[in-house]
C-alpha cells in the first residue's frame, strides 16, 4: 500500500495471464494424480466413503450446472433424472439380471426420453413458471413410481442383493467387495462431469447457452433457437445426472422414491452449485467441499461433541442429551442456513466471494483504477 497508482500488466487487464491455463492444467493434473493414489495411501473405508460422497456431489452439481448455470434454467426437478437412472439400472439388474454396465445404457436412454418430454413441456415457460413446472413434473414421476407397486415395488424400494463381478476377457477385474472400485468409478464420474462442463463452457454450445441466459429474446433475434439449445443442455445435464443416479444405486445398494426422487434431492443439487458459485467450472467442487464435510460432521455428531468438549453444553444435561439425540438428523438444516447466508451475503457463491476478497487484497485500496481501463473492462 504505497499509495502510488500501480499499472497492472496488460495481460491481467485483457483477461487471465498467459501462464494461467498452463498452471491451472498442471494443478488439476497434480490433484488428479493425488486422488488416484489416495486409496493406496489411506486404507480407512470411512475416508473412502467420504471421498466417494464428495465426488458424487461434485458430479451432481456439475451436471446441474450445465442447464442451471450456463443456460440459466433453474430446474428444481433434477431428482427425476437421478431417480429414473437408478431405477432403470437396479430394476433391470434385480428383476431381469441384466448387468449394470448394460443397464446403464438403458438408464441413459430413459433419462434422454424423460428430459425431452420435460423439456418440451417446461421450456415453453420462463422464470418462476419454469421452476414450478420442473418441480411438478418431478413430483408426478415420484408419485407414479411410489404408486405403481407391481412394477417398482412402491415405497419399499429396491434392495440390490448382489452385484455381479466385472469381468473383461474372462478375467475378473473387480468383485465390488471393497470401496476402492467405487472410489475410482466416482472419481471418473466427477472428473468427467468437470471436463464436460469445461468443454460446454468453451464451445459454441456454451456461448449460445450463456446468450440465452443473459437475454433470451436478444439471443433469439440473433438466430439462436432457445428451445433447441435449452433441450440440448437439458439432455446433457439429464444424462450425467442419471449416471450419478446409477452410481448411487449401485454403491448404496438400496433405492426408494424418498431417497432418489424427492424434491430435497433436486434442491440439494441446486445448492451445491449456488453455494460454490453458479456457472463456474469449479463452483460445484467448492460447493461439495463445503457441504459434504459439514453434513457428515453433523451426521457423525461431531458438532454436539464439540459443544460438549468446549463446555458450552453438559452432555449429561437435558439439552445435551437432546442435542446428541437429534442434531445428527438435522444435516439438512445446515443446507438451509447456508443457502440463506450465501444468497444474502455472497450471491456469487463461496468461489465468487473468495475471488472478490482476493481481488480486494491484491489491489491497493487507495489506488483508484484509471478511469480509462476501468471504463473499458469494468471492475476487475
Amino acid at each position: 500500500m504505497n499509495g502510488a497508482a500501480r499499472l497492472r500488466p496488460l495481460a491481467e487487464i485483457r483477461g487471465k495471464p498467459r501462464g494461467f491455463a498452463a498452471t491451472g492444467m498442471v494443478a488439476v493434473l497434480l490433484v488428479t494424480a493425488g486422488l488416484v493414489a489416495f486409496p493406496r495411501m489411506v486404507a480407512s473405508p470411512y475416508a473412502l466413503h467420504l471421498m466417494i460422497l464428495f465426488f458424487l456431489s461434485v458430479a451432481m452439481g456439475e451436471s446441474w450446472n450445465i442447464i442451471g448455470g450456463y443456460c440459466g434454467q433453474y430446474s428444481v426437478g433434477h431428482a427425476a433424472y437421478f431417480g429414473v437412472g437408478s431405477y432403470a439400472t437396479l430394476m433391470l439388474l434385480q428383476y431381469r439380471h441384466v448387468a449394470p454396465w448394460w443397464g446403464v445404457w438403458v438408464a441413459i436412454v430413459a433419462a434422454l426420453i424423460v428430459s425431452l418430454v420435460i423439456g418440451s413441456i417446461c421450456f415453453r415457460l420462463r422464470g418462476p413458471y419454469f421452476v414450478l413446472a420442473s418441480i411438478a413434473v418431478a413430483e408426478i414421476i415420484r408419485l407414479i413410481v411410489l404408486n405403481w407397486k407391481q412394477f417398482t415395488n412402491g415405497a419399499e424400494g429396491i434392495l440390490l442383493v448382489d452385484l455381479p463381478p466385472l469381468e473383461f476377457g474372462g478375467r475378473v477385474l473387480t468383485d465390488w467387495l471393497s470401496k476402492t472400485p467405487f472410489y475410482y468409478l466416482s472419481l471418473v464420474l466427477g472428473l468427467t462431469t468437470l471436463l464436460v462442463n469445461y468443454v460446454v463452457e468453451h464451445s459454441k454450445l456454451g456461448y449460445c447457452l450463456q446468450a440465452i441466459r443473459e437475454d433470451q429474446d436478444a439471443a433469439h433475434s440473433l438466430g439462436i433457437s432457445p428451445p433447441f439449445y435449452k433441450n440440448v443442455a437439458l439432455a446433457i445435464s439429464a444424462v450425467f445426472t442419471a449416471l450419478c443416479g446409477v452410481f448411487y444405486g449401485l454403491y448404496i445398494g438400496f433405492i426408494d422414491p424418498a431417497s432418489v426422487l424427492a424434491v430435497d434431492l433436486s434442491v440439494q443439487m441446486v445448492l451445491i452449485c449456488i453455494i460454490g458459485g453458479i456457472a463456474t467450472n469449479f463452483g460445484p467442487v467448492v460447493g461439495a467441499l463445503v457441504l459434504v464435510p459439514l453434513s457428515e460432521a453433523l451426521r457423525a455428531n461431531l458438532l454436539s461433541k464439540l459443544l460438549f468438549s468446549v463446555g458450552l453444553v453438559k452432555e449429561s444435561s437435558r439439552l445435551g442429551g437432546f442435542l446428541k439425540e437429534n442434531l445428527a438428523h438435522a444435516h439438512v438444516l445446515i443446507y438451509g442456513i447456508l443457502v440463506v447466508v450465501v444468497i444474502l451475503f455472497m450471491p456469487d457463491g463461496v468461489l465468487g466471494f473468495a475471488k472478490k476478497l482476493i481481488a480486494k487484497a491484491a489491489r491497493p485500496l487507495s489506488a483508484e483504477p484509471s478511469p480509462l481501463i476501468g471504463g473499458i473492462d469494468g471492475p476487475a
Binding site: G72, Y74, V76, I121, R124, L125, R126, G127, P128, Y129, V131, L132, A133, I135, A136, V137, E139, I140, L143, I144, L146, N147, V263, V267, V270, L271, I274, N326, L327, H329, A330, V332, L333, Y335, G336, I337, L338, V339, V340, I343, L344, P347
Partner: protein
C-alpha cells in the same frame, strides 16, 4: 351419484382451506413479486402452534386461531424485514432459493425440536359428521369452511374498503406509481407478508384436527398453493379462491375414483395443462 356428491362436497370443504393458503401466496406475490417457496412451511408452523396450544394449554384448535393469526402475522412481518426485504431487487432465482432455504430451515428446526414423529389433535368432534341435505360431511371440515369464508369475506372488505387495503392493492398494481402517490410501499410489503403468513398459519390451524402434523407436511402444501394461484391467475384473490375449490374437488374426485395415492398427480397434470394452455390463469391478466 351419492358418492359423487359426497366427494364433491368434501372437495369443496378442503378447497376452502386451500383457498386460504392460495390467497396468502397471491397477496405476497402481488405486492412484492416474490414467489414464497416457504409458504407450506409457514402453514406447518401454524399447525405446530395449534398443536402446542392444544396439548399444553387445552385450547380448542378452532379457537386457537385468535392467537395463531396475530402470532403468525408478527412472525411473517419479522421474516419480511429480516430476510425477504433484502432480496426484493435480486434475481428471481435468488428470491426463490432464499425462500427454499428458509423453508428448509423452518422444517428442520421444527424437526430438531419436536422430532419427525406424527402428531395428531384428537378433539371430541374430530370424527363426527353433520348431515347436509342427506350428504354426511366431516364436522371439523365444515367448521373450517365457515371460518374460512368469514376470514375471506373480512379480507375482501379490508382490501376493498379500507385505506390500507387500497394502498396494498395499489402497490400490487404498480409499485413505482404507488410510491409516487405517497404510499409507503415498504410498509405495505411488510403488511402483505404478514397477512400472507397469518393466512397460511390460519389454514394450518384449521386443518390440524384432520391432518397428521409432521415437519415435512409443508412441502406438499407449497406446491399445491402454487397450483391454486397459477390456476386462478397470479395476484388475483378471487382467482385463488376459485382455484382452491377447483383443486380441492379435483383431488377429492381423483381420490375416490382413481386412487388416493395418485390424487396429487391429477392436480399437477391440471397445473401443467393450465401453464401450457392458459398461462395467465382463469382470472388473471396475461403476464407470460
Amino acid at each position: 351419484m351419492r358418492v359423487l356428491l359426497q366427494s364433491a362436497a368434501s372437495g369443496i370443504l378442503i378447497g376452502g382451506v386451500y383457498a386460504l393458503v392460495g390467497i396468502g401466496l397471491t397477496i405476497i406475490y402481488g405486492v412484492m413479486r416474490v414467489i414464497n417457496f416457504a409458504h407450506g412451511e409457514l402453514l406447518m408452523i401454524g399447525m405446530y402452534l395449534t398443536w402446542i396450544l392444544f396439548t399444553s394449554f387445552g385450547v380448542d384448535p378452532f379457537l386457537s386461531i385468535a392467537i395463531t393469526i396475530p402470532a403468525m402475522f408478527v412472525f411473517g412481518a419479522v421474516l419480511q424485514k429480516v430476510l425477504i426485504n433484502r432480496v426484493l431487487n435480486a434475481l428471481p432465482q435468488n428470491q426463490i432459493l432464499l425462500t427454499i432455504g428458509l423453508g428448509l430451515v423452518l422444517s428442520n428446526l421444527v424437526m430438531l425440536i419436536y422430532t419427525s414423529d406424527y402428531k395428531i389433535i384428537t378433539t371430541r368432534y374430530s370424527s363426527s359428521t353433520v348431515n347436509l341435505a342427506g350428504i354426511p360431511i366431516s364436522a371439523p371440515l365444515a367448521i373450517s369452511l365457515v371460518i374460512t369464508s368469514a376470514i375471506t369475506a373480512i379480507l375482501y372488505l379490508f382490501l376493498l374498503k379500507t385505506d390500507t387495503g387500497q394502498a396494498i392493492r395499489a402497490t400490487a398494481q404498480d409499485r413505482d406509481a404507488a410510491q409516487l402517490m405517497g404510499i409507503n410501499v415498504k410498509r405495505m410489503s411488510v403488511l402483505a407478508f404478514g397477512i400472507g403468513t397469518a393466512l397460511a398459519g390460519t389454514a394450518g390451524a384449521l386443518v390440524s384436527p384432520t391432518y397428521y402434523i409432521f415437519p415435512q407436511v409443508g412441502s406438499a402444501f407449497t406446491l399445491k398453493a402454487f397450483v391454486i394461484v397459477v390456476l386462478g391467475g397470479m395476484g388475483s384473490v378471487i382467482g385463488a379462491t376459485l382455484g382452491g375449490i377447483i383443486i380441492g374437488v379435483t383431488e377429492s374426485l381423483a381420490a375416490v375414483y382413481v386412487s388416493s395415492g395418485m390424487k396429487e398427480v391429477f392436480v399437477y397434470v391440471l397445473f401443467l395443462l393450465v401453464l401450457l394452455f392458459k398461462p395467465a390463469g382463469l382470472l388473471g391478466r396475461s403476464r407470460v
